[in-house]
């Protein structure tokens, strides 16, 4: 009995290892067709669900010729969008490609020119472009690339962090150093309770109240990268604030009191005593919050817009990896499903690295 239970408990502990490794393996296996088809280029390819027809299809109907024009005009660039029926808009997007905020996207996009020269590019309008497909069924290839959601994820998370870090620090400083106990106690409890609210509530509030509010102030639609980033930021504020406060509270009173005794102001105590002491904990909690923001689905899904375009302004809609998964997963099959698994794998690996980094490097000696 004793030996049995011991075996059982060790087995359960191993289950955790098993689940994690099988997540990796299963995601990899399902993503394999996409990985084989697109390789690492997937990471830098901005096209999603774009049908590519080889040049031979010159006898194809009028539509193709139209798009051939697009091709000639912009031989150096790649159409990025799958907004249907808006060839004009594609041209604009292409010309603007140089303005994309991330350096990686511009440079990498250019490396693909050779592949695309002499290739007709056409959008798949969710099946509306079927006539063309029928003429040359086997010559066409659907291209999936994950750059837009990857950039969208990084930008929305970055915005969230820029917005949330100062406010969360402010709350933490306020709670641990400024406010008298009769304020800091209830406010602290309220903050912790807010961290427990399901993320879908934040998303819904963002859609109906915060989005219109932001578009009223900054212009643009009520769904945009900016709204997504801010809602995400608001969502991680309570989490970050309560973790930061906890690690600030670990500073021994003696240290603070000696600094005050030397005549230091409150700010100096915070800056020169508390921060250096709690530095690792604070940075660690920020990275944990970052990991949470990276993988957040529901708060973002309502307000980011879900379109596969690069945001040229903050108020443009775009898409992030979890949102792509949430919106497209149920209807996908074959290659598109595999591409989604590829995205999921990328997201999992990124957040795994971020979280392990926080855990092993910053929060290790907390125990």
């Amino acid at each position: 009995m004793e030996a049995f239970f011991k075996r059982l408990s060790a087995l359960s502990a191993t289950t955790i290892l098993l689940i994690l490794t099988s997540i990796f393996v299963v995601l990899f296996l399902y993503a394999k067709p996409a990985i084989e088809a697109y390789g690492l280029k997937f990471l830098v390819d901005p096209r999603w669900d774009v049908v590519i027809t080889p040049q031979k299809a010159t006898s194809a109907p009028k539509k193709t010729e139209n798009l051939g024009g697009v091709n000639v005009d912009n031989e150096d660039d790649i159409p990025t969008v799958n907004i249907p029926k808006q060839n004009q808009k594609i041209n604009v997007q292409e010309d603007d490609l140089g303005d994309i905020p991330t350096p990686a996207s511009t440079t990498k996009v250019n490396t693909q020119d050779d592949d695309l020269a002499g290739v007709n590019v056409q959008e798949e309008d969710l099946g509306i472009s079927a006539p063309t497909q029928n003429t040359q069924p086997q010559k066409q290839k659907v291209i999936y690339g994950g750059l837009v959601p990857i950039v969208g994820t990084i930008l929305s998370t970055a915005l969230a962090m820029i917005f949330a870090v100062p406010i969360a620090m402010g709350i933490a400083i306020f709670l641990s150093e400024i406010a008298p106990p009769f304020i800091s106690k209830p406010v602290g409890i309220a903050i912790e309770l807010l961290a427990a609210i399901p993320s879908i509530i934040y998303g819904m509030w963002g859609l109906f109240y915060f989005g219109p509010f932001i578009s009223h102030i900054f212009g643009g639609g009520s769904v945009s990268l900016l709204v997504a980033g801010l809602v995400l930021g608001i969502m991680i504020i309570p989490f970050m604030a309560s973790l930061t406060r906890d690690s600030m509270k670990t500073t021994p009173d003696v240290l603070k009191e000696s600094a005050y005794a030397m005549g230091a102001t409150k700010f100096e105590v915070i800056k020169d005593v508390i921060f250096p002491y709690a530095k690792k904990g604070i940075i660690g909690s920020m990275i944990l919050a970052l990991g949470r923001a990276l993988g957040e689905t529901m708060a973002v899904a309502f307000v980011i817009g879900g379109v596969f375009t690069f945001p040229h302004k903050l108020t443009d809609p775009t898409v992030s990896i979890p949102v792509v998964l949430a919106n497209n997963f149920a209807e996908s099959s074959g290659m598109s499903l595999s591409a989604l698994f590829y995205l999921a794998l990328i997201l999992f690996v990124i957040s795994f690295i971020v979280i392990s980094f926080a855990k092993f490097y910053f929060l290790r000696d907390k125990k």
């Binding site: 004793e2 239970f5 011991k6 059982l8 408990s9 359960s12 502990a13 191993t14 289950t15 955790i16 290892l17 994690l20 099988s22 997540i23 995601l27 100062p166 406010i167 969360a168 620090m169 402010g170 709350i171 400083i173 306020f174 709670l175 400024i178 309220a190 309770l193 427990a196 609210i197 399901p198 993320s199 879908i200 509530i201 934040y202 819904m204 509030w205 109906f208 109240y209 608001i234 504020i237 309570p238 604030a241 102001t265 100096e268 944990l288 990991g291 949470r292 993988g295 689905t297 529901m298 309502f302 998964l325 949430a326 997963f329 149920a330 999921a344 997201l347 999992f348 957040s351 979280i355």
Partner: protein, 269 residues
């Protein structure tokens, strides 16, 4: 000058705190107003197909309960291993860290994983898949709670048990777990509150259903998934139902959290 900087910084951080709190209370207030105005007896007695929430509320609880039934034993026994049997070896430390990392893994990725192992072979979404996805989310939380709570039990209690000749599993079950019972129960309550509000792992595992069902082999009603679809509908009455659901969900989660906090406080006395 120092004093002025000090004043400015303190003012700024107070302002930041106020700003943050304003946003957070804005959410709660709109949620309460919208939610209460949409709640009536009708939504508790009708299913989604008749603009009610009954099947969704029941469905969400059933999913979460099954997740508890699957996840809690595995998580607790794993936690017992980490605290009682590992004697601080490297493997246990590794598992402990891994479980912490898994706790923060993106929930949507867990959804895709369960889709791959269950929904895809079966061919359609079903309730079991949703419950398993929630269980996977829950296991690391339970491990952490059990691990922490057992760690608080004094060593002397264990030694006393061993001294009278009890086998180790008896010591664990009859002494250590009894001593840590309140803490573990609270932790489980909080873990339940956390997974009951999850949406992302359910989106393409259990899906949603408009009808009342307890059959886990088919698509299963889920409150959170329904909120997601209803809130984006153009029909205002459907959006109101979503608000009512969101309000009930938040109320439930907050009450459980307050309860857990209260229990911990009582225990400390």
């Amino acid at each position: 000058m120092r004093l002025i900087i000090n004043k400015i910084v303190l003012l700024l951080s107070t302002l930041a705190a106020i700003l943050g709190l304003v946003f957070l209370f804005w959410i709660l207030i709109t949620l309460t107003i919208k939610g209460i105005s949409a709640i009536n007896l009708h939504i508790f007695t009708n299913d989604l197909v008749n603009n009610g929430l009954r099947n969704l509320l029941v469905g969400q609880f059933v999913l979460a309960f099954i997740a508890v039934i699957i996840g809690v034993p595995i998580g607790m026994v794993a936690g017992i291993y980490l605290q009682e049997y590992s004697f601080g070896n490297k493997y246990a430390e590794f598992i402990r860290n891994l479980s912490d990392v898994m706790m923060s893994a993106p929930s949507i990725v867990i959804g895709t994983f369960v889709y791959a192992i269950i929904v895809s072979p079966v061919g359609h979404m079903n309730g079991w898949a949703g419950a398993i996805a929630l269980a996977i989310m829950m296991i690391p939380i339970v491990v952490r709670t059990t691990d922490d709570m057992l760690g608080l039990v004094p060593k002397e209690l264990r030694e006393a048990g061993v001294a009278i000749g009890a086998p180790k599993y008896k010591v664990i079950f009859d002494i250590v777990i009894k001593a840590a019972k309140v803490g573990i129960m609270t932790g489980l309550l909080l873990a339940f509150a956390r997974i009951v509000g999850e949406t992302a792992p359910l989106l393409f595992t259990s899906g949603n259903s408009e009808y009342f069902t307890l059959n886990l082999n088919h698509e299963f009603p889920s409150l959170t998934v329904a909120i997601y679809t209803l809130a984006t509908m153009p029909d205002k009455s459907l959006v109101d139902i979503a608000w009512a659901g969101a309000f009930l969900l938040t109320l439930f989660v907050l009450i459980i959290n307050l309860l857990g906090r209260f229990v911990i406080k009582e225990k400390k006395k």
